[in-house]
Amino acid sequence: MSPAGRNQNGPIAAPPPPRPIFGPGPMAGLGMPTQKAKNFKGTLRRLLGYLQPHRLALTVVIVTGCIGTVFSVLGPKILGRATTMIFEGYVAKRMHVPGGGIDFAGVGKILLGLIGLYLISSTFQYLMQFLMARIAQRTVYTMRQEVEAKFDRLPLKFFDSRTRGEVMSRAVNDMDSIGSTLQQNLTQLLTSVLTLIGVITMMLTISWILTIVIFLTLPLSIALVMRIAKRSQKFFVQQQAALSALNGHVAEMYGGHTIVTAFGHEKKSIETFDALNETYYNGAWRAQFVSGIIMPTTMFVGNLGFVMVAVIGGVLVTRRAIAIGDVQAFIQYGRQFSMPITQLSGIANMIQLTIVAAERVFELLDEPEETPDAAEAVVISNPRGAVQFDEVSFRYKSDEPLIEDLTLDVAPGQMIAIVGPTGAGKTTLVNLLMRFYDVDKGAICVDGVDIRRMKRGALRRMFGMVLQDTWLFSGTIRENIAYGGDRADHEALMHAARMAHADHFIRTLPEAYDTPINEEASNLSQGQKQLLTIARAFLADPAVLILDEATSSVDTRTEVLIQRAMAELMRGRTTFVIAHRLSTIRNADLILMLEHGRIVERGTHQELLAANGHYADLYNSQFASRAAMTT
């Protein structure tokens, strides 16, 4: 049913790499090429707008985050005090100072205080993450709901002009990125910044000389990491290009497996693959190696700081400038110092990516919508099924005229046969009648009412469709048939199935009406699926029918059943038939002859034969010879 079949028939594409649920480590995002957001600030503001309803919870998150971080930053300094106390006691004892010795009561008090401090810090850090889980997930939930609701309001044009994968990747993958960033990176950002400030403050209170020493290592670390990241970026780009070539080959060869096999090209295909695989490997290991250096490098710079602190701090202690415990504290701070910095650069990258993802989601949310239903909609309580086209003009592309000034008057119960090649023709008819697309000019009326004055839902309920492209969803047979009617009772449902000649085969299924239809509906044959849609139409009991007689991919016996069921369904209803059968055409009240989606001729069978145009050609070339064949 997708027009021109664009949605489903694309080549098999390699799915995007999944993002780990627990999020990246501190190094993730470093060295990978970044995308640029078009409007960073605006998108960020809009994204933050989604956090608005959680203001209160967010405030609590920030407060708990602050408490947790401040307490954890205080730890080393206090621990250092204990060490100093021990050291002094030890030295005093060694010097045989009277009353010298370690003040265990004092040390014990400090340590007990520390235990309390750490407990509070960890508890609050946990609370922060705990609260954030709900905020992040509820926010993504809301966005997902918005996207789904948006789908409801988007015109069909939107879906017809995009591949399903394209839309899915926005609704799923991009949403995932947003979710993980909200979950992890926001709190990380908070704690990293706080830790950084806290650690610097603590270090300054201990010794400004040592603080400067540690600070000197910082530009070194940044310069080195930047250099490496830059190089690795080049390799990552190389690797990415090689990977997409490789994936392209794989997708294509797998998609054409039968041909590859039939023509005995396996060996050649493998050779091509091996060459691409080799190219990819050459890029991949370099990219991996270069980005793998980042961690040892930063660690080295960290160690450099460690050594300098140990040496300079040692000298300072011997000169009684600072206490030994302070050196110990300083070493711990030095380690804590580099972590938030690497984290922050990673976070910056992730946020960049997230904004790009959010931008793509917002683009989706900002797509122009259908005109809303008329406020004072006209309700037709007992539709009779009269359909009028009043000088209707319509085109998909502004420069390709399709329907020009079409006027049609279909009385209730009449049958209109549409004859011609497959393609946009029948889809256009469905599109216009069901108001999937609005006409450019003129009007379509049902029972004298312009369809734009009705509620879309009400309008569509007047129509029944049985098309070749049956659409079933995963659910039971019963649910699928009842899709046409609200809460249909079992009797009505079975009656519809019987009318559609579907009852018999349904009963042969393992759980009869409650048999689940699986994802691809592969447990039913094409013909059985068509019978189900007919049953669905019977149950819905529409005033106007749109039928496609084509029954390719259906075995002869089922085909007979389908034909019979369709004939019964058509009785007493206005019907538009995509005709494939001689008898249908002959009995039609009006034949529309389509070519390239445009109506080129119209009239009854006799009129069109007499006109000796396209229809007559078609009829003579096909049906006349068929008449000869069967005699």
């Binding site: 080549p11 695989n277 040496v311 040692g314 000298v315 059968r581």
Partner: protein, 578 residues
Amino acid sequence: MLKLFRLLRSYRGVIFIVMILALAQSLGSLLLPRLMSNIVDDGIVKGDQGAILRFGGFMLFTSILSTGCAIAGSFYSARIATGFGRIVRGAIFARASHFSIHQFEGIGAASLVTRTTNDTTQVQQMLIMMLTIVILAPMMAIGGIILALSQDAELAWVLIIVMPIMGLVFFFIMRGAVPLSTAMQGKIDRINLVLGESLGGVRVIRAFDRGERQRARFDAANIDLTNTAISVNRLIAVLMPALFLMLNLTSVAIIWVGSHRIDAAVMQVGAMIASLQYAMQILFAVFMVTAMFVMLPRASSSAKRINEVLELRPDIADPAVPVPVNGSVKRGQIEFQNVTFRYPGAEEPALTSASFTAEPGQVTAIVGGTGSGKSTLIGLIPRFYDVESGRVLIDGMDVRDLKLTDLRGRIGFVPQQAKLFTGTVTTNLRYGRETASDSELQHAATVAQAMDFVAKMPEQFSSQISQGGINLSGGQKQRLAIARALVRKPDVYVFDDSFSALDFATDAKLRAALRGETANATVIVVAQRVSTVIDADRIVVMDDGQIVGIGAHDELLKTSEVYREIVESQIPLEEVAS
């Protein structure tokens, strides 16, 4: 996963080097606190600044060495892991390329693509992680304990006790989180499914005014996913604070125990400070391992999927002793003798006792409703499938006795759905036969009625065909697919309903041109159109997996009920006018 790692065999030596390097790297990191304790005990306590500088120099040297080892380790592990990825990818691709049609469809092309690309990357990332990070943890733990023991046994006990406790906490958190995250994956799949339905079925949803119900389904899936995600993340949230708490409490314990040891004069202050460092380093190394456990479930399911492919043996392969192709008997006669075939696992055979002969120089048409077994029947000729009983013969030789390349080299197969490959028109036609000359290609294109539109393309035969031929119409693709088969100059032509996208006039012209081209070959045509079949020398009528009639058109009209039904019902009016 372990099974997959067997493919690492050729890297055994390098892996050993990586392990040595990791050991050196961890020893280097651990030596730093040790040297620092010397600064304290020999330098600070004794007031010896020379000693401080000396040990500082040692520390610098050690850390350079350790970094060097880490970089070398990163180099080798990058090569091992990406090399491993290359091996796995290559193995999957080579294996999948030889799968029979049935096996291939069993897994599905899309799934195979994922297995070849994403799953391999997952496993590769996992290996990187193991080689660079995970490997350090045991080295650090063992080295750290040894060093701590060498300084003071009593204090080392603190570490020895803490480590298993930490492991346990970690284990319990993960035991809860891993199934939850697996469940979450299922829920993501579910939401994707519903969303896919919304997108794919947008017309039907709107036609039946079912937007609300669909939204309710989505909402249910969304809520479900959200709740699970919240639970997972809340559980994971315990991890970091818990680990830090333990690290910090360990520090407190070290100071407390250390103070008593120092008081007893069995240990020095420097050693105590060093022990704090050991604890930190060991626990961080262990902590890094958690990253692996985060990746593990996903990587191991990837590995499982990869193994499924690698463990599947192609069920159609060359015979052990192939019959050599004898040039003199080359004619192309195809004979089915009592052939019965059943798709694996199917209750009913798709083909029952089929017997017929297709002679060289003749056109044999196969007709029947869908599901009657037509495509199955012709798929047995190039051995897309193998018979269950009976035999398929080509020039009197069982197709199973021939080498696959010999057999398929004699067949020009034109599939139902014309599939072209990225490349030029020329490369696509040469797919039929690499050695074909340009004039042969042009001739084939002319016969296949493809010359007109190829001539109109921007670069004629050198024009690019984008992936799958999306820049061509269905009819054009079919004509190129036919030309591709013609280029092959095979003894047997098999057309699987390959004229369906052609308009009436082109169909007629093409068949007329084909007649001359295939005069000496065996032509087997599966067709829906009666007009395609009507001139065939022999028509084989299929119904429900059985041959119910063989003969010419006129004859069958009289004798075969099924054939008459088909002629009457299958007038594909819609295709005529395009």
